[in-house]
């Protein structure tokens, strides 16, 4: 568990936002991706995340996680507690992600059976989030400036007019050779994204299943990532979403990691 942002809720910059401009002026691909990236989703969020992992045989594993996120300006802090399965209950993770690009994230884990908080350091950006089909980058950590963007075409997907944008990483060694995103015009969230692996082969597809308006923010509450090469699917569902509900700063401490859910 490395890497930053648990932006489940901001999912992937694919995030929504309602009142996007009526801007009729011609936008560049980069401008569109910035609009997607910078959509406001509130300062704080509290939610229950249900992660369902479905393997090639159709076997399902379900994990329920309670998570808290707060933006402190130059640092974003999140803490998450496992609710189930029972044998990992109260296992917790904390992540501090800094705006300063030269500063690595700080990460901690707490295993209740070991009764110890441990720091974790890691170097891989392309790591998969908790054994799912999402990488941390997929969850919204990747900045628009890291890729070159191009508008391929405009088309309607699921009744929504979309820009189809191709993004090619500037770093040739990145785990994807390109991604293609369908961005809803005016709402500025991605409806769908196709990923191509290092060798240019089709790898996986992200789809938004459900978007809810909570406190005036468009929050994506259900997404699904299907890895075609492994035939493996991860479904993430957010419930009990509370925006700006007043999470205490003391929530993001080792003490809270140890205390666990009450």
């Amino acid at each position: 568990m490395r890497r930053r942002n648990w932006y489940l809720m901001l999912i992937l910059a694919l995030m929504a936002i309602p009142f996007a401009g009526k801007a009729q002026e011609k936008l560049t691909a980069l401008e569109i991706m910035r609009k997607v990236y910078n959509r406001p989703t509130g300062k704080e969020m509290e939610a229950t995340l249900t992660m369902t992992l479905i393997n090639a045989n159709g076997d399902k594993r379900v994990r329920v996680i309670k998570q808290f996120i707060k933006d402190f300006g130059n640092v974003e802090k999140k803490i998450m507690f496992f609710v189930s399965p029972a044998d990992v209950r109260n296992t917790s993770f904390m992540n501090w992600s800094y705006d300063d690009p030269n500063k690595d994230d700080d990460q901690w884990i707490y295993l209740p059976a070991l009764k110890k908080v441990k720091r974790i350091s890691s170097d891989s950006k392309g790591d998969y989030f908790m054994g799912s089909d999402f990488t941390y980058d997929d969850l919204g950590d990747r900045k628009p400036e890291e890729d070159n963007h191009k508008i391929l075409r405009e088309e309607t997907l699921e009744g929504e007019p979309c820009y189809v944008i191709e993004s090619i990483p500037k770093d040739e060694d990145y785990m994807y050779s390109r991604t293609v995103t369908w961005v809803v015009k005016g709402k500025w969230y991605g409806l769908k994204r196709d990923f191509y692996d290092e060798d240019g082969e089709y790898l996986k597809t992200l789809k938004i299943n459900k978007v809810e308006n909570i406190k005036g923010y468009w929050i994506i509450t259900q997404t699904e990532m299907h890895n075609v090469q492994k035939n493996h699917t991860t479904r993430m569902t957010l419930t009990d979403v509370k925006i700006d509900s007043g999470i205490k700063n003391s929530m993001f401490t080792e003490r809270m990691m140890r205390r666990g859910l009450r």
């Binding site: 399965p85 296992t91 993770f93 059976a113 720091r119 350091s121 170097d123 989030f129 692996d197 060798d199």
Partner: protein, 778 residues
Amino acid sequence: METLINRLLKYPKLVLMVTLVITIAFFVVMRKNSRMETNLDKYMPQNHPAFVYSDQAEKWFDIKDGIIIAIQNPDGIYNSRTLQKVKDLTKKLQKMPEIEKKDVTSLYTADNIIGTEDGLDVRAFYKRVPKSPEKLQALREKVRSNEMVFGRLVSTDETVTVIIARIGDDVFSQEFYHRILDLAKQFEGPEKIYVAGRPIVEGTLAYLGPRDMRRMVPIVIFVIIVVLYLVLRNWKSTFFTLLVVLFSTIWAFGLMAALKIPIYSVSTMIPVMLIAIGVAYGVHLYNHLYLHLREHPETDRREAVRDMIHQMWKPVMMAAVTTAIGFISLLTSQVYPIKYFGLFTAFGVMVAFVLSVLLIPAGALAFGLPRPKRKKTEDEEATLTGTEDTFAYRFADRIVRHRGLTVFISLVVVGLSLYGMTKVWINSSFLDKFGKNSDIVRTDRFINEHFGGTSTLNVILEGKAPDTFKQPDVLRELVKMQDDVVESLPVVGNAFSLGDYLKRMNKVMHADSEKYDCIPNSSDLIAQYLLLYEMSGDPDNLWHVVTEDYKKANVTFQLKSDNSKALKSAIAVVEKYRPDFEKMGVQLNYAGSGYKALVFTDLILEGQISSLLLSLVIVIVLLSIMFKKVTIGLIGSVPIVITTLISFGVMGLLGIPLSTTTALISSIAIGIGIDYAVHFIERYRVYAGRTHDKLRTSHLTMHHSGRAILFNAVVVIAGFLVLLFSVFPPNRSLGALVSLNMFTSFVGTVTIMFAILYTSNIYFRRRDLAKTEGKESA
């Protein structure tokens, strides 16, 4: 039948033309549809429970055979050039369309999870190739402290590192094999590159097999031509005899191609069989023809040919039918390539018979009778006139006089053979098929010296409920078994299981303290470690050792040998833990290609025994019917029984293991050996009817048939000895064993079978016997 043959022979040129056209048709089909089957999994019966289970387990845990590429630098691998090669080669392998990216493991792809004072550090060993001495040293330290990598991906003397590319069963091809070898070669120098692993061994086998055949066939044909010419002393006869063999081979392969049955490696033995058998028919027919011409120098073609057909079609047919039945008995084998081998060799034998009785006479009719160059002929002319002191006569006399001794010696030999048979062992090894100093064996030995082993055995443990493999007691038992196998058997170099991950995590979470290099006590902690690993390492690695519901686990043992003894020794140790596992509700099974090969070879042995017994019964019944006497059926089976016993006995005594190729020998012995009995008994019967004198009959039979059999044996043995030039040791033992079988069949026929036949007084009335007894005592 005889009438039919004669009617057909009214149009000899037409017969030749039609045969030629059919042959060309088969040849065209063969060229168009023939396909070599190199996927060894296709050789195994797909619905056998052991294979079904193994295939399932291979899916659960994504078990695949690995190609192992070793990079050796005697000065140590920790320099930027060698590490660059590891990186480049890893990337090149990952880009190959046959290989999935995640299936390539090397120091470059491996994750290093290290415990530090206050936490956990998860990093690749290197991404950019380290250049400075400090960084290289740091890498060395990282590797040394990680027991999941040290000794597995990097040798403990730090001069060799391996890249493992796992590949599916279905992607291997000749072309891919050569591409891998070419790729490896590009990275050669000054580092040495070695390529090994089961897919490579199988690939080399599939590559060398046909190459070996291409090399063997011309030699076989040359030897046959020479021996045939020496025997027949005429080019025309040699030509037609060979034509029969060639055509029957083309028909057999043509039919295989027409039925869309691929060529398996054992199928390449079909031509060798047909050459050995088909030639004998020609030899018999021409022998008779020559004899007839010598006795009646003035006969015209038509009459000579008619006599040959009349006298010979029946014994040749009897020989062909029994031989074919011998091969058809292989249908009882559960192994498809062996079934096909039996079936198509039988077909080829029947074709060789039909073509012999059609082409050889048709050839004589169309192109004139063959007139052999005369050698010293007094010998032959004495045949029926009855000069008493030929070698054959004296030999027959001796056997008759020392019947008791003959029986005694036979019994001693049988006893020795039975003892030898208890020592026969089965070997499913692919590597043992190569010479001890072949490249592939040396590479394998090299990698085995530096790493755990190139062969694998998978032990699959299956619990009743999910999360079985989060229980400390179950996991401890697993680790205990794993350690026991590795420590008690030098041939097992390494093992890998869920236990290794947990021990590693436990140690790492306790600041790398050796004290915690064990399975934790609490199942919750185990679950939490596993969760942590899933989040920090590559979870896909975990699914190679346990299923996602933690109900089934896979323990992989690395062996330094793929031979059956090694596998069985590991299985024997594992089996000790079966009762303990069962008490915990955990079932134990095996999987993997090595295990499948082991089961497969056992099946071959089973198949051999059943096909042997079956063919023995069939042959006895057939002989009883042909000679209208059950006693003859029993006497006729004597050479086969003796031959088979000696064959297996010698294999046991010389330590030649039973394998796919050597296992075929027993039916070959039955098929060809029976010919001898048929010819000998047939002659004995004819002369008995003619002379009513037992001793005289013995003399004539021994002189005539005994010599013909010797002749036959010499031709067949000469043919099979060619196999001694094969590059495959098993093919060499095959050649030697078949030659041995032919020799013992021959000796068994003219000694012990003859002695029994003589003693049985069959074909003689009491009146005749009284006469003989007078002579015998004289």
